[in-house]
Structure formats: structure tokens, C-alpha cells
């Protein structure tokens, strides 16, 4: 019995490795190709016989990108928008999620479902009314306005994800803190939120990545370079009358760099957070 267990375990381990390696290659392969492409001159990209490795290694694509696209401004705009989005979600979403997790009150379930339903109306048609709302609030073409618009579909995600992490923190801790001299709000900030911090980080990363990558709203709700974000700037390079494959690849690589750096930084916390939360429904 013991031997067959070990035997079948070995087979499963080998299978797992096979699956993981194939998937990892599939996931990373296109990125490597993009990286290679970004170092190629145009003649190595648009060619009749495939050139795998650049015949002439060049940084020209990156330099052109830097000069032409206004990359620094766009990235700063993206950072501001992403930060604002996360900040709004953190402030309004954390306490809402806490309320859903901690209290059983009339209307709780319908309200939670309501938060989900607001994600369902197609973005295509929300854009023009949102445009009007933003303009009337004086938020059109501002990073704050864009962040507020992102909140409309990222806040529900934030609340739902975070609730799982709050659920995982025992309710007795707040009781203890309240008896020890905290108010409810004190117990929330001193005790529960610190415990759920890994989950909070994980959730924020999700929201940050979504905000960083968003395209449609960013395109429609900004017009000047003063608040335009990086994905819009990137798409702009795909003009109708040019062939910027090399620059596009360079742009793609640059656009995921911050995301990968962020992910690498918080990866441990994030995985720990996700696993600790175990996201109970």
C-alpha cells in the first residue's frame, strides 16, 4: 500500500511539473518574444525569413519611445490615477467590507448582491453618462475623475475580495479590544485591519493592476496629456499609417515593468494574504 502511494505520488509530481513547465513557457514565451522584438531593428522584424535573434542589437525603440510618447508624463499620470483609485477603494471599500463581514443587519445580502450587479452594466454605454457626470463635477480630464470612474467597477471587486479576509479574523478579537477599552472603530483600526493587512495588500494589488491596465475609460474620460494614462499613450502609437512593431514591443515591455516590480515586491505578502483569507463566500 505504502509503495503504491509513493509510486502514484511520484507520477502526479512528474505530471504536475510537466503541466507547470508547459504553462510557464506558454505564459512567458510571448513576453520573451516581445523583449527580443523590442531590441530589434525594423528590418529584423518585417522580413520574409524569420529572424529569431536580433542581427543588430538596438535600444533605438526605447529611445524613440521615450522621446515620442511622452512616456514619463504618461507613467506619472498612470501612477497618480492608480494611487488615487487604490486610496478611494481603501477608504470607502475597507469599511464597507468590514461592515459586510462583521454585522448581520437587515438588507445585508441584497446590498452585497447590489454591489455586484453594478458591475454588470456594459461599459460601452456607461461612458457618455459618466462623461456628463464627470464634467458636471468638474472632474473631467483629471486623474481624480478617472480614479472615481474606476471605482465604480473596482470597488465592488475590492469589497467582495476583502470580505473573505475579514471573515477569517475572529470576531472575539474585537470583543476583547472593546472590553480592553477600545471603541468599535478603535478595535477595527487597531486590531482587525492589522490582522487582515496581507489580504488588504493582495486586494489592493488586484485593484492597482486593474487600474493601471484600464484602457476604455481612460481613453474616453481624458483628453489632454495632462491626465492621459499609459495604456492610452501606448495604443496611440499603433497609428493607422505606420509600422511601429519594435516600439510597440518596447512599450509593452516598459508597461509591464512596474507591474512586475510591484508584484515581485508584494508577491510573498500577496500569496500569504490570499491563502490566509481562503476567501470564504
Amino acid at each position: 500500500m505504502a509503495q503504491t502511494r509513493t509510486g502514484s505520488n511520484l507520477i502526479w509530481n512528474i505530471l504536475s511539473y510537466a503541466v507547470l513547465i508547459v504553462l510557464a513557457l506558454l505564459s512567458i514565451g510571448p513576453l520573451l518574444w516581445m523583449l527580443l522584438t523590442s531590441f530589434k531593428v525594423d528590418d529584423d522584424i518585417v522580413t520574409r525569413t524569420m529572424v529569431y535573434f536580433p542581427t543588430r542589437f538596438t535600444l533605438e525603440n526605447y529611445i524613440k519611445l521615450w522621446n515620442q510618447s511622452g512616456y514619463p508624463v504618461l507613467v506619472i499620470n498612470s501612477l497618480v490615477t492608480t494611487t488615487l483609485t487604490v486610496a478611494i477603494c481603501l477608504f470607502t471599500g475597507t469599511i464597507a467590507s468590514y461592515a459586510f463581514s462583521r454585522f448581520n443587519f437587515p438588507g445585508r445580502t441584497p446590498l452585497m448582491l447590489g454591489y455586484l450587479v453594478v458591475r454588470m452594466f456594459p461599459a460601452v454605454l456607461m461612458i457618455i453618462p459618466l462623461f456628463i457626470v464627470m464634467r458636471n463635477l468638474g472632474l473631467f480630464d483629471t486623474s481624480l475623475g478617472l480614479a472615481v470612474a474606476y471605482t465604480s467597477f473596482l470597488l465592488p471587486l475590492f469589497v467582495w475580495m476583502l470580505k473573505g479576509f475579514f471573515d477569517a479574523a475572529p470576531k472575539e478579537l474585537e470583543s476583547a479590544a472593546r472590553i480592553d477599552g477600545s471603541t468599535r472603530i478603535g478595535a477595527m483600526f487597531r486590531i482587525v485591519i492589522p490582522i487582515a493587512r496581507n489580504g488588504l495588500v493582495a486586494t489592493c494589488v488586484f485593484v492597482a493592476i486593474a487600474a493601471w491596465n484600464e484602457y476604455l475609460f481612460a481613453l474616453m474620460l481624458t483628453s489632454s496629456t495632462g491626465s492621459r494614462t499609459w495604456p492610452v499613450g501606448l495604443q496611440l502609437m499603433v497609428g493607422e499609417f505606420q509600422l511601429p512593431w519594435g516600439m510597440l514591443a518596447a512599450g509593452g515591455i516598459i508597461s509591464i515593468l512596474p507591474v512586475i516590480v510591484l508584484f515581485a515586491l508584494v508577491q510573498r505578502v500577496m500569496v500569504a494574504g490570499i491563502t490566509a483569507g481562503a476567501v470564504k463566500g
Binding site: 475572529p170 472575539e172 478579537l173 470583543s175 476583547a176 479590544a177 472593546r178 472590553i179 480592553d180 477599552g181 477600545s182 471603541t183 478603535g186 486590531i191 492589522p194 490582522i195
Partner: protein, 358 residues
């Protein structure tokens, strides 16, 4: 230190009434145990005393102060939870001192108090660890340290020992008793473990279905249970219930159970009104003795369970099974007919319709 009075406290969740008019008085320095099966409302009552949940009616008075509208933080109570509820992000020192920190006690004073509490509980060496690095017993001590450091009017314990293994549980039980003796603070202690109730409490309230069945000192609870529920809940093995009819035979009162007759001399209860009616006799297993006496019961040996110091013998008498706790040397064979004497003075009689003690 303070007295605690609970006057007419009720609690309902929607249509469900979980506490029905609870009245309790606890003297200063007393140790009240709320005992009952799960779902009896004992933890809810504790939460109401703590102020963690609002009551639906009635008053909670700690000392001279009606605390109905006082927040938990201002009631000057301390509580130990079943899961210990240690703050996982703080080291032990800060965990213990947290209540003082919240009350803005100066740091030096706070440290001294934490040190004293730690010494008392022998956990000085753990002060800089995080709760995650502690064993169950150590966590329990930290939780108690957090409670005593505050020098509150009232301690609340919510099943504090139920997560410990058997040996530690006994050890900590003794520890709690010692603490109570030394500090003299009033305690309300929730448990479903009758041994904890009996060993710790100066006063035990047995609860069921949101109602206090009996509130008395442990001895009274054990010897004179107010009803069959209390009688059956307290004691291990549980009390035997032998149903039968009360008859007067000569000068003595006897209980007839089918063919079997049990004479009941020296009965404390006044049973005059129940002659000729059916009653239930509550007989504790340890009141049986081998051999002859004033009242005896004879039956067939059904099961024999040696436990070490004792031997549990289950007798079948007229189809009803009774457990007797006999000495370790008394080992009858299965199927033997056995006659046991009963200490009839210790027998309680209950009304089978209401379950109350006659």
C-alpha cells in the same frame, strides 16, 4: 471589586427569545458559574454583561452602577475568551498592556503592572514573543494576564479552558481558583463542564433554553437539584432515574417499580401528597453499595466497566438500566443477579409531569 445584579434581563433575536427574564445576584468577591449545554443562552448572557450585545430589556448593575448604557470599554470589566483572542500582531507585553494603553496609563506604570501580572502567571519569559509562537497553555496564561492587569471590577470568562487538553485543563483550573482566592475579584464564568462549575463556583447557575433552572452553591446543586434537568446535567456518570409509584408500606414509604420495591426511609422530602402517584426517583451512582441495607434493589448485571479506582456496574432492574459506582474490587460477572443497598437519604424524588423536585 463589586457586586453584580442582573434584573429581568431579556434578549430576543427577532421572534426568537434566547433569554427569558434572567435574575441573578452575585456577592462581592463571588464566583458565579453559568453552566449549561450549548445554545442555552449562557454566552449571550455573558455578552450582555460585557456590553458586547445590547439586551432587549432588564438591567445590569455592576457595583452601584446601572451599566445598561455604558460602553464595554467603560464598564471596567475584563474578559477571557475561549479562543483567547490574543492580538496576533502584538507581542505578549503589548497584548497584556493593551487595556492600560487604551486607558492612557503612563508607560512606566503600565510596564510595572504588566511585569506584576506576568510574574503572577509565570510568563515573564514570554513577554516579547508574538501569540503565534506560544503553546495553548501559554496563550491561556497571557489571556488571563491581560484580564488581571487591569484590576477590573469584574472578570468574565467565556469557556476559557475548553480548547486545552485534559491535563492542562486541570492545571489551569487550579490556577484560576488560586487567582480568584488571591485577587478576590468577582468572576462570572461560562462553561459547559460541570466539573469546572463544581470546583470553581461559589454560585452555580444552571441554564437551559434561556431560563435559569437553578441557582445555588455547588453542593446544593449536586445534592438537591431543582429539577430532573439539573439532576441529569450534573454528575458523572449521570444520575439514575427510576420511575415508579409511591406507596406506603407499614411505616415506611416505598417506591414500586414493577416487581421491584425500594424502601425509602429517612427521606427528607415531604411526599405525603404524592402517595399513590407515580414519581421519578433520582439515585446517584455512588449511593449504591454492595450488600444489604434499609433499601435495596436487585437486578441483573448488564455491563461492567472498570475505570481504575471504581467499577461501573450497569444493572437491569425491571427493564430499566441503572448505573452503580462500586469499588474497584467489586467485579460481578455478566448475567449475575446482584443486590445493592441504596443510601436512601440521598435520593431525590421528582414529579414526572413537571420534572420538578418534589
Amino acid at each position: 471589586m463589586a457586586t453584580l445584579s442582573i434584573k429581568g434581563v431579556r434578549k430576543s433575536f427577532g421572534a426568537v427569545e434566547v433569554l427569558k427574564t434572567i435574575d441573578i445576584e452575585l456577592e462581592d468577591g463571588g464566583f458565579l458559574v453559568l453552566l449549561g449545554p450549548s445554545g442555552c443562552g449562557k454566552s449571550t448572557l455573558l455578552s450582555i454583561i460585557a456590553g458586547l450585545e445590547p439586551s432587549s430589556g432588564g438591567d445590569v448593575i455592576i457595583g452601584e452602577r446601572n451599566v445598561n448604557d455604558v460602553h464595554p470599554k467603560d464598564r471596567n470589566i475584563a474578559m477571557v475568551f475561549q479562543s483567547y483572542a490574543l492580538y496576533p500582531t502584538m507581542p505578549v507585553r503589548r497584548n497584556i498592556g493593551f487595556g492600560l494603553e487604551m486607558r492612557k496609563v503612563p508607560a512606566a506604570e503600565r510596564d510595572a503592572a504588566v511585569q506584576r501580572a506576568a510574574e503572577l502567571l509565570q510568563i515573564e519569559h514570554l513577554l516579547d514573543r508574538k501569540p503565534g509562537q506560544l503553546s495553548g497553555g501559554q496563550r491561556q496564561r497571557v489571556a488571563m494576564g491581560r484580564a488581571i492587569v487591569r484590576d477590573p471590577d469584574l472578570f468574565l470568562f467565556d469557556e476559557p479552558l475548553s480548547n486545552l487538553d485534559a491535563k492542562l485543563r486541570v492545571e489551569m483550573r487550579t490556577e484560576i481558583k488560586r487567582l480568584h482566592d488571591r485577587l478576590g475579584t468577582s468572576i462570572v464564568y461560562v462553561t459547559h463542564d460541570q466539573i469546572e462549575a463544581m470546583t470553581l463556583g461559589t454560585k452555580v447557575a444552571v441554564m437551559k433554553g434561556g431560563v435559569i433552572q437553578q441557582i445555588a452553591d455547588p453542593q446544593t446543586i449536586y445534592e438537591k437539584p431543582a429539577n430532573m434537568f439539573v439532576a441529569g446535567f450534573i454528575g458523572s456518570p449521570t444520575m439514575n432515574f427510576l420511575s415508579g409509584t409511591l406507596e406506603r408500606s407499614g411505616g415506611t414509604i416505598v417506591l414500586r417499580h414493577g416487581e421491584a420495591l425500594l424502601a425509602l426511609p429517612g427521606l427528607e422530602q415531604d411526599v405525603g401528597a404524592h402517595i399513590g402517584k407515580s414519581v421519578v426517583a433520582g439515585i446517584r451512582p455512588e449511593t449504591f453499595h454492595p450488600g444489604e441495607g434499609q433499601g435495596t434493589l436487585t437486578g441483573t448485571v448488564d455491563v461492567v466497566e472498570p475505570t481504575g479506582p471504581d467499577t461501573m456496574v450497569i444493572l437491569s432492574i425491571g427493564g430499566q438500566l441503572l448505573t452503580a459506582r462500586l469499588g474497584s474490587r467489586d467485579r460481578p460477572k455478566l448475567g449475575d443477579t446482584m443486590t445493592l443497598a441504596v443510601d436512601t437519604a440521598a435520593i431525590n424524588l421528582f414529579d414526572p409531569d413537571t420534572g420538578d423536585r418534589i
